[in-house]
């Protein structure tokens, strides 16, 4: 099952050139670009591992692409990698854009568990099939 999180996720995967254009847009807006990765793609898993520091002082997308490629060398094919852009201006102080750049070759998807409680009430839980295996051995 194809993971759809963040912007552009219903589009075909972005090419490097398209990623660079998006990153340049973020830099031109004055946002700090981050590279993050994880092997636990649960929708409530908001905080992914960061690849290095947020790039506050990079002026050109080439610098971010350099780091993205370094991250791919280490985690590509085994982890999800996303690029996010943080707007530090007062009252925003949050992410303005986040999109996936890399996904594992095989995405097993999620199971939906229904727990019956108190009469006819049902509680729902989503569980990633991948996360059933230990960290590092998931994809």
């Amino acid at each position: 099952m194809r993971l759809t999180q963040g912007a552009f996720s219903f589009l075909p995967d972005l090419t490097d050139e398209q990623i660079a254009r998006q990153v340049q847009y973020c830099i031109d807006k004055g946002w700090a670009v981050n590279i993050e990765f994880t092997d636990d793609p649960h929708p409530r898993n908001t905080y992914w591992e960061m690849w290095g520091m947020p790039m506050f002082d990079v002026k050109d997308a080439a610098g971010v692409m350099f780091e993205l490629n370094e991250c791919r060398k280490a985690y590509g094919g085994r982890n999800y990698i996303r690029v996010s852009a943080f707007d530090s201006t007062h009252t925003w102080e949050s992410l303005r854009l986040s999109f996936l750049t890399d996904r594992p070759a095989d995405e097993p998807g999620f199971a939906l568990e229904r727990q019956e409680v108190d009469g006819r009430t049902i509680r729902y839980t989503t569980r990633s099939y991948a996360a059933m295996r230990p960290e590092g051995a998931r994809y």
């Binding site: 490097d16 050139e17 660079a20 790039m55 002082d57 990079v58 002026k59 050109d60 997308a61 080439a62 610098g63 971010v64 692409m65 350099f66 780091e67």
Partner: protein
């Protein structure tokens, strides 16, 4: 990630391309007029820049006919004596290359050994990469580049920084331009010890020493910038000052001129303060011959601090 920002229009096989018109249209003419106006002398530097601009125009024209054009290597090394304008030109270079379309952003990151080389094992690579990332899309200016290589210490981390630099200079030629600067003889030794650098740096530009007239012209511009003028007598005295100072040791071309003018301003301020009468606007902006002639250079000493004699 295209180095040349605007896509050239395809041309028919029998079309003729007028370089004069292209030159005017690209805004390069303005850049070179500005350069001639702002920088005194430096003929070899200016002619090299014109060559680079011509290459860009030819490359664009070739692209229009569908002929292959690879982006040229633009890494440079600036060598020359102290005060010949290496840093000043590097600052302009980023702007020029940006207008030429060779670099995307046109910012300049100035670094020295301290910014690239770490203090313990494993510290150098992240530090160098951080700087390179910051410089991407612009120009990385490494001042006193020969300090990167310390032959007397084989465990020096400078070598690691050099290797990373070389790798990025080779693989990401489209993303940044590296300018190395330093004094002629030491850069020569640096290149001899690092053959990789010599072959990856395409443009070796030597900054010549300025002539007396050029130094006087530089002095005039500096004064303009500071909002001062010289009286005719002061100008004559300054020309003599330059002739005397030039042959003395520790002469640093443009920098010596700037220091001399700073000292002249100091003496002028002192003179006005000591005169104990109201001063006019003209007096405030005019340097007199006395302000120049009080220099130690005229009495055979060296105009520097701390005094050398």
């Amino acid at each position: 990630m295209d180095a040349i920002t605007d896509e050239p229009r395809p041309a028919d096989a029998d079309e003729r391309i007028d370089f004069r018109a292209e030159f005017a249209r690209s805004g390069l003419a303005d850049i070179f007029d500005e350069l001639d106006r702002d920088l005194v002398g430096l003929a070899p530097v200016k002619s090299r820049l014109r060559e680079i601009a011509a290459l860009l125009l030819v490359d664009r024209a070739r692209a229009r006919f569908g002929l292959g054009a690879s982006s040229p290597t633009l890494h440079m090394s600036f060598t020359g004596n102290p005060g010949t304008g290496k840093t000043t030109v590097a600052l302009r270079m980023a702007e020029i290359l940006h207008k030429l379309g060779y670099v995307r952003k046109g910012h300049l990151v100035t670094v020295t050994r301290d910014d690239l080389v770490g203090q313990y094992i494993g510290h150098t690579a992240p530090k160098t990469k951080e700087i390179l990332k910051k410089a991407m899309g612009g120009v990385l200016f490494i001042d006193e580049a020969y300090y990167l290589y310390r032959p007397e210490n084989e465990r020096d981390y400078g070598q690691e920084a050099i290797e990373i630099l070389l790798q990025v200079m080779e693989n990401q030629r489209d993303d940044l331009v590296v300018i190395l600067a330093g004094y002629g003889d030491r850069m020569e030794r640096f290149f001899t010890a690092n053959p990789g650098f010599r072959s990856r740096v395409a443009h070796h530009i030597d900054f010549p020493d300025y002539s007396g007239d050029e130094l006087a012209a530089i002095g005039g511009r500096l004064l303009d910038g500071m909002g001062y003028v010289m009286s005719p007598e002061a100008e004559a005295a300054f020309a003599r000052y330059i002739e005397l100072r030039k042959v003395q040791p520790h002469f640093a071309n443009g920098r010596s001129i700037r220091n001399a003018l700073d000292r002249a301003r100091l003496r002028q301020a002192n003179r006005l303060f000591a005169s104990e009468r109201p001063v006019s606007r003209d007096e405030l902006v005019t340097l007199e011959a006395a302000d120049i002639l009080a220099s130690r250079v005229f009495s055979g000493g060296i105009d520097s601090y701390p005094p050398l004699k």
